[in-house]
């Protein structure tokens, strides 16, 4: 599984969404992406890519697209 597939799988499993929904995913765009869902998403990404995301980046992680940019800082190219 490449990084994009891993990244997508985390979103799909965490928020119970389809692949088609991914590009428009943003904080609170679906009911599952609330503060609890956000914690679940970050935890799953840290496990999937074996990284530890800084608090500032957790706060800034506001959408599917924004997350891709943030993960670059952790040497995860998507």
């Amino acid at each position: 599984m490449n990084n994009l597939e891993k990244y997508n799988t985390v979103f799909i499993n965490n928020f119970h969404i389809t692949e088609q929904q991914l590009p428009k995913m943003a904080y609170q765009s679906v009911s599952a992406w609330d503060s609890i869902g956000h914690m679940g998403l970050i935890t799953a990404l840290e496990e999937a890519f074996d990284i530890m995301i800084d608090t500032d980046d957790i706060i800034d992680f506001s959408s599917y697209e924004k997350g891709k940019q943030i993960l670059k800082k952790y040497n995860v190219a998507i």
């Binding site: 904080y27 609170q28 009911s31 609330d34 503060s35 609890i36 956000h38 914690m39 970050i42 935890t43 840290e46 608090t55 957790i58 706060i59 992680f61 506001s62």
Partner: protein, 246 residues
């Protein structure tokens, strides 16, 4: 049945208000005895326990509408839970008691609408300014009594707040909490529940008892996630009568 003259709502909302609390042993006879009180009050709020379909039906017949469920959540502090990630984040976030400038900032945030699911705000008989003033007056009044207000801080920025008061020995009630608008999508909302828990632990407390509206499912989920259990629910019905001359 308890009838409370909610005189403070005259200042907050500009209407005379009665809060009527139905207890488990009340019957519809007690309802018929207070029809006159209902008719002569501008804003009537009924709080009814679960399972009282007789009252729900009667209230509906008398023009009351359901506006929210009020859940009483309790937490034995020994049961407080945070996920490992939340623990990590919680350690980077502090809190301290507010000064006057902090309070003014808080009141600005409230006027800016941080409480989007409030039953007054959702009620189109009231304005968002009235809803905000009600919260500001509530905090100001309780500060004059025994409550404290704390700011929640991340990197020297205030991200939210919580109120705090002791209701019984070892039992604390954070009657209002919230995240400031700039941080509303930060994922840090859990700290508005956790920091009062930390303060209660610091004071050697044993329990937090608080309320959440069924209109705010995010907050309901957060309480359950952090170990709170549902103790009770009251269903809230309201009725507006025309302006009554005093």
């Amino acid at each position: 049945m308890r009838i409370i003259d909610a005189f403070w709502e005259k200042r907050n909302l500009g209407v005379n208000c009665k809060e009527i609390i139905i207890e488990n042993n009340d019957t519809l006879i007690s309802f018929s005895n207070i029809i006159g009180t209902i008719e002569s009050t501008e804003y009537v709020v009924f709080k009814v326990p679960t399972g009282r379909f007789d009252f729900y039906e009667m209230l509906s017949k008398h023009g009351f509408v359901f506006i929210e469920g009020s859940i009483n959540f309790k937490l034995n502090l020994k049961d407080a839970f945070l996920s490992p990630l939340q623990q990590r984040l919680n350690a980077t976030i502090s809190y301290s008691e507010m000064g006057q400038n902090d309070l003014e900032k808080l009141f600005g945030e409230i006027k800016n609408g941080i409480f989007a699911t409030d039953r007054i705000l959702l009620d189109n008989h009231f304005s968002k300014e009235q809803a905000a003033n009600r919260y500001i007056n509530w905090i100001s009044d309780d500060l004059k009594r025994t409550a404290q207000v704390y700011k929640i801080i991340y990197k020297q920025n205030t991200i939210g707040f919580f109120t705090f008061k002791q209701t019984e020995e070892g039992i604390y009630y954070p009657f209002l909490v919230g995240l400031y608008k700039h941080y509303s999508s930060s994922g840090l909302g859990f700290t508005t529940l956790r920091k009062p828990i930390d303060e209660a632990i610091k004071r050697n407390g044993r329990e937090i008892s608080t309320y959440a509206s069924t209109n705010n499912t995010i907050v309901v989920r957060s309480h359950i996630q952090q170990g709170f259990s549902m103790h009770d629910i009251q269903y809230i019905f309201v009725r507006h009568n025309k302006k009554i001359k005093e």
